[in-house]
Amino acid sequence: MAQVVSTHGHSHEGNGHSHSEILGGHQSYTTVTDTISDVVLKRPLGKAWLFGFAIAFALLMMFLFAITNLLVRGIGIWGVNIPVGWGFDIVNFVWWIGIGHAGTLISAILLLLKQDWRTSINRFAEAMTLFAVACAGLYPLMHMGRPWLFYWLAPMPNTMALWPQFRSPLVFDVFAVSTYATVSLLFWYVGLIPDLATLRDRATNPIVKKLYAIPALGWRGSAIHWHRYRTAYLLLAGIATPLVVSVHTIVALDFTTGIIPGWHTTVFPPYFVAGAIFSGFAMVATLAIPLRSYFGLKDYITDKHLDNMAKVMLVTGLIVTYGYMIEGFMAWYGANTYERYQMLVDRPFGAYKHDWWLLILCNCVMTQLLWFKSIRNNVILLWLISIVINVGMWLERYVIVVLSLHSDFLPSSWGMYHGTVWDYMTFYGSIGLFMTLMFLFVRVLPAISIAEMRELVHELHERDEAKTHATPPAARTV
């Protein structure tokens, strides 16, 4: 108790963001509004945008072709067989759902954690969530073989009075994914309402004005409306946080509830959630890096943002690595013959050993590069690593789905699985769907939340004021 700590005007360069770290240049409510809305309202279609859109659209057409063929001929055109009944469709489903999770993490969890750097990336991360969930949702539908009977999944008795089997994780999935898609859409739309009002008020073309006016719902920025709006938005964030965890947990339960070797392990849910965030942040980085340079948004998506995203990737990558280690250890420690064979022999040394080693290289080894600040701050390297992580996380799901099924309990029923050309067309085609939606989104809606950027400008200003004016409270007397 010898020292009395003086704390007046203490300031360090460290974790606290300074004005320039998360918001470059000199920004005001006006400049923020102008810069972001002009991307949508004033900027002409660029050659690069048209070129990218053309590629994405071509892939989307390939997707339609592949789906049409699937509907005409059935899932026999895919590589799935007995014993590997879950192929690319489930791998892609889990991969896309996982990518979607980063959007919710950025928009909801980082909001609750008061991480102000989220503001400039949350809008397009949420859009990414929505489009990724759209891609994900298509796969189980196609996987059913007769997608026109999808309503059999709805919670209502059929003509024989039979209900969906509520004890099955596959039915949990129906509820989880549809709830997730709905809540993500609501969250995204609620966030958009004030920005749609801004675009309505700034648009000069009367038709464009009307088009923005309708979804803006007559928003007029009333103080009372804002008050309820903030409450609703924060509560949505609070709701979305456990939701995002539950969704990938339920995806993990699809596997763990089965007693197939390599699937039935209790650490699956948390490391699936971490893996989802891992791949999702990698996708955000993959998209944000070209986006910010093309649209000139480097003042808003700064190097600090990329550094933080890289750190999140490092942490979640380490959790995923921990998951691999502990499931491997428990397979050995549990001393179950089938688990030991699957985890310690078949995966690293079996028929699919290349996939497994590549997965370890992508997810566990390459991620370690992110420990170094110089690598995190190198935009090109970071972009390449983010792509490597996306590949690695796809491989992870491939290894889990295919390898456990191809060699389970009975060696006489072991078999091999390989995707056919139709599997690959459907996979790349869904990337086309995702990219097409993304390209359209950045043209017609503000890719950064204008209202929240104004708030950020206000908060940073307040914080600067607080630093110079605030004094510690006098010691209380009881």
């Binding site: 007693i259 039935h264 209790t266 650490v267 849910p269 280690m325 420690y333 001393a335 009881v478």
Partner: protein, 430 residues
């Protein structure tokens, strides 16, 4: 700066440390005596393990959460960083206090017994389940943890004494790998000390689940110590309602996480229903233990969940402390539920449905014994350093809290003086 009450609180610290030390040593002598008597040995050792796990968790939580703060920052760290660091040094007496568990291994760990019905089931695991490996691993873990704790505390003192950024940078640099290392080693500590009591059973989330529970206890303890010191200068500058609110939210997050990990482990094992996994739950959900399990669901999840959702409770240190005491108690019950039913004679048995009440009675004794010694260390370390980390970068966050409080006060007693200088018209470009 200091008023009579706060200086009284401050001078109480050494007195309390002495008191805790005496109580702890006294109870420890009692514990050891009961371990030496053959007829009570079988009850004392599990009780001792419960108490040990409880306090070990708080010490390890101190180590891990202070490294979390060094990585993430946050205003809450200014208030609790010193208590967290002090808690981490309790790992030193804990390294000695584990010796009774080594000595009593035959009571706790069936795989160390020469003739045991378990042995048939675990001959595949002898590479891991052998006494020398067990002791060696524990010694290595403690070397790692104590090294990290000492490095942390030393660098922290250096950070206080210098204006250079070198110690700050070193602390941030060591925390990343240190946290990863601590997480990994603590997982295996949980496996070794607790999971191997039933050597046929395994669960890969177990280590993470235990750590979340330890983290929860650490937050509760931090709330208690911060409430105790909140009027002491200079702690009163940062012991603000907003920071207690943050601590309450962290408690809430860990309550939810703990429920999540526990439920997930239960659900997967319940759904799989395998012979080598399900008896672990049958032993804990039948007979009298059923009531314990139900109480845990209610008082370890639903009640704290709803209480901690209320802002009014989180912003008042006294009320938050009551919740913290409740959570610490129920977590002790939870550890009892995890550890005590493990002592069954038959492998794969589901018959242990009776609560061994004599063991339960001995748990408070073990908690006082280990807790007294840990608290004495904790309080001694705490008062040897300034109560706040003077040069922590997170000080940046504190003025904003003071500013908000000023604004709130200003709002309460509003000014009616018109003609304010703020209202001069501003010409803009528009």
């Amino acid at each position: 700066m200091s008023n009579p009450v706060s200086s009284a609180r401050a001078t109480q610290l050494p007195h309390l440390a002495r008191l805790a030390g005496i109580a702890g040593l006294g109870a420890l002598v009692g514990c050891i005596l009961l371990m030496l008597i053959p007829s009570t040995r079988g009850s004392m050792l599990p009780a001792y393990l419960v108490g040990y796990t409880f306090w070990f968790g708080i010490a390890l939580g101190g180590l891990m959460l202070s490294m979390v703060h060094l990585l993430t920052g946050g205003a809450w760290g200014i208030l609790v960083r010193r208590p967290l660091e002090a808690a981490s040094l309790a790992l030193i007496p804990l390294a000695i206090l584990i010796v009774p568990i080594f000595v009593g291994h035959q009571v706790l760990y069936p795989w160390t017994r020469a003739a045991d019905p378990y042995l048939d089931l675990i001959h595949e695991k002898t590479a891991y389940l052998n006494l020398s490996g067990f002791i060696l691993r524990t010694v290595i873990f403690f070397i790692i943890w104590i090294t990290l704790a000492v490095l942390l505390n030393v660098a922290s003192i250096r950070q206080d004494k210098t204006t250079s950024h070198a110690p700050t940078r070193w602390l941030a640099l060591m925390s990343g790998p240190g946290l990863a290392l601590a997480f990994l080693t603590a997982t295996f500590a949980a496996v070794d000390w607790l999971m191997t009591m039933e050597p046929d059973w395994y669960s890969s989330i177990y280590g993470a689940m235990l750590m979340v529970g330890w983290g929860l206890c650490t937050w509760c303890m931090m709330v208690l110590i911060s409430t105790f010191l909140r009027d002491v200068s200079p702690v009163d500058q940062v012991a603000r309602p907003r920071i207690f609110n943050d601590l309450g939210n962290l408690m809430l997050a860990f309550v939810i996480l703990y429920a999540y990990t526990s439920f997930i482990q239960f659900f997967i094992i319940w759904a799989g229903n395998l012979t080598e996994e399900i008896p672990w739950y049958l032993r804990r959900t039948r007979g009298q233990w059923w009531y314990v399990m139900t109480a845990l669901i209610i008082f370890h999840f639903f009640v704290p969940l709803f209480l901690l959702l209320m802002r009014g409770l989180k912003r008042r240190p006294e009320r938050l402390s009551l919740i913290a005491i409740g959570l610490l108690t129920i977590h002790l019950v939870d550890l009892t539920w995890l550890i005590v039913p493990a002592r069954v004679r038959e492998p794969l048995s589901i018959t242990a449905t009776e609560i061994p009440w004599f063991t339960i009675i001995l748990i408070p004794l073990a908690v006082v014994a280990i807790g007294g010694i840990c608290l004495a260390t904790f309080l001694t370390v705490l008062r040897s350093k300034p109560l706040l980390p003077v040069n922590d970068p997170s000080w940046d966050r504190i003025p904003a809290i003071w500013h908000q409080e000023e604004m709130e006060r200003e709002f309460d007693d509003d000014d009616l003086d018109l003609g304010d200088a703020h209202f001069s018209p501003i010409v803009t470009g528009r």
